[in-house]
Amino acid sequence: MESAAAAAPSWQHFSHAADIGVQGRGRSLAEAFAMAATALVAAITDPAAVISRQSVSVVCAAPDREMLLVDWLNAVIYEMEMRQMLFSHFDVAIEGTRLSATLGGEPLDPERHQPAVGPKGATLTALKVAEEGGLWVAQCVVDV
């Protein structure tokens, strides 16, 4: 596993044969979702290289937490693709199974960001949203 930090909040990638698993951990569900989005961006480029210059608002609602994670990651993918942007800052609020977030980022600069791959969509594979050992874990496989 590739890990950005051992202590919460943190993100990591887990192996998948063809694609890439993204996992976020946090002290709250919202923080775990924000970290999962950071892991998503880290599949494309180093999140530390993405400067938060512009903000974008996102709202999602789903029947359950797992599907909310999938919807959230897909919303981030959609905004990145449509706006030709990358994001590094995720301010997430979750009430029940409704999510609202502000994404902070900047226009994609291929030379500087060296984007490795464009995510196609978040899948239901290895999908998990759960509280484990006092931390929230949010993960799934993203098709790249």
Binding site: P110, P115, G118, K120, D143, V144
Partner: protein, 478 residues
């Protein structure tokens, strides 16, 4: 993978008898070595597929099978709509109609032997083919043209001068998939596609100039217009943002609606809907629209490619050998136990491989079988195979599609530097052009399994016959 649950039926045939919820057996085609290297998830996923309603005969896995989402990649499964059969968005994949198009050039290796010519070609292809994350072409479709593209496919592109009429006979379905309905495609999916017509995408997508280095069957080689030393071009890409968005939306909808149809999924990732349901029909119409998008996209890329060759090597004559998709669900007739049945065949990371004589084959291939195009990685071989008589019975006329990854993207990016990979390949005469060195590292040749073993197993299992082996000369990475 643990082989103890399998019955070994032959050197390259392995069977899992139906147990528990499985409605049919699962059949895997691979050598023992490939089987042992497979992820355990392949067993779990192929047995799950075998439990879906309306599945016919068996759930199949090709020699390149690996862990996918819901269906294994390299999975083939056919469903009968009259027996409560289902259609699955995960059984097609996000990159709907991702496929390979192979073009003949009329050139031989001598044309590219002067390094300055090869470098000029590599640079011009990189400049002329939009590739990589965020790349866009100058093409912008109005809402009306978007809908025309979604119903017209490659035929739409040719009608707008992106290609030659003769190209269409060398594309599955004549370049236009019937049954598409742009009204089934969301506005978000169309928006995502707006700037992406004529783009290669990223990840494992590529455009490669390749040299034919070996012919395994002279007669088939002649039939396909191939000789050792010939230069050909392969394009590997799919339906871009439109297909990805359709996959995203229908995977979600199918997962949520399955209980209402009485479908009990062993895992939500197997999301599917009855073919006869409104959701199943809507997905079919949307997926077929995405197929047209993918075929139109590869057609436009071919036009860009022809422009580049016209500038750099005007003596080239770019003719299409074939264009075949490997992420699809297609309505086909198949003989099952002596009876012709109308089935919906999912091929997720598997290539259709029609046998000689199949009525849906273009005239040029009627006597010899369909070209089956297998991509390798940028430093290794690609293969051209041909459909065989046996594959109809063995796998609903399906074969493998590629090598499959040997390691994750993260592992590859840690192990290699993109600059070193590019330099190493250049020393071997393979020029790589990419917007991202990290992307090159993640696609490093050794990050993939040996495609030759997959092709040999495919041939030994009688799913397709080997025709030619190709090596890359120039690679534009997505």
């Amino acid at each position: 993978m643990d082989l103890s649950p399998f019955e070994r039926v032959g050197d390259t045939v392995w069977r899992i008898p139906p147990v528990g919820a499985m409605r049919v057996p699962a059949v895997l085609y691979a050598t023992e070595g490939l089987m042992r290297d497979m992820d355990d998830k392949v067993f779990e996923q192929i047995t799950n597929v075998a439990s879906l309603p309306g599945i016919v005969k068996a759930a199949y896995a090709m020699p390149d099978a690996h862990w996918g989402y819901g269906f294994p990649i390299g999975g083939v499964a056919a469903f009968d709509p009259d027996e409560e059969g289902v259609i699955s968005a995960g059984g097609v994949g996000f990159d709907i109609s991702c496929g390979v198009r192979l073009l003949l050039t009329g050139l031989t290796r001598a044309a590219l032997e002067p390094l300055p010519v090869k470098e000029r070609l590599a640079d011009a292809l990189f400049a002329g083919i939009p590739a990589g994350v965020g790349s866009q072409s100058a093409i912008r479709l109005s809402a009306k043209e978007m809908d025309a593209m979604l119903t017209g496919g490659a035929a739409w592109a040719v009608a707008r001068s992106w290609g030659e009429p003769a190209d269409l006979a060398r594309i599955e379905e004549g370049g236009r998939m019937g049954g598409a309905d742009p009204a089934a495609v969301s506005s978000r999916a169309k928006e995502r596609q707006r700037g992406q017509m004529g783009t290669l995408g990223s990840g494992n997508h590529y455009l490669e100039v390749q040299e034919v280095v070996e012919l395994f069957d002279d007669s088939l080689g002649r039939a396909f217009g191939l000789a050792v030393g010939d230069i050909v071009v392969s394009i590997h890409c799919g339906s871009r943002g439109l297909g990805h968005q359709i996959g995203t939306e229908f995977l979600r909808a199918m997962a949520l609606e399955a209980p209402a149809h009485g479908i009990r999924l062993p895992d939500r990732e197997l999301a599917c809907a009855p073919l006869a349901s409104p959701l199943g029909q809507r997905y079919l119409a949307a997926m077929r629209s995405a197929m047209n998008c993918a075929m139109a996209n590869r057609q436009i890329l071919t036009h860009f490619l022809r422009q580049v060759f016209r500038d750099i090597l005007p003596e080239a004559r770019i003719d299409l050998l074939y264009d075949v998709s490997h992420n699809t669900c297609k309505e086909e007739r198949h003989d099952v136990d002596g009876k012709s049945r109308r089935l919906f065949v999912h091929r997720k990371g598997a290539t259709r491989a029609f046998s000689p004589g199949h009525p849906d084959l273009p005239e040029a291939f009627r006597a010899v079988g369909q070209p089956v195009l297998i991509g390798g990685s940028m430093g290794t071989f690609s293969y051209i195979l041909a459909g065989t008589f046996g594959s109809e019975v063995k796998s609903f006329s399906s074969a493998c599609h590629g090598a499959g990854r040997a390691m994750s993207r993260s592992q590859a990016a840690k192990r290699w530097r993109g600059q070193d990979v590019v330099r190493g390949l250049a020393a071997r005469g393979i020029l790589v052009r990419s917007a991202s060195f990290r992307g090159v590292a993640e696609e490093a040749p050794k990050a993939y399994k040996e495609v030759g073993a997959v092709v040999d197993a495919t041939s030994a299992a009688g799913l397709a016959r080997k025709v030619a082996r190709l090596v890359p000369v120039v690679c534009v990475k997505g």
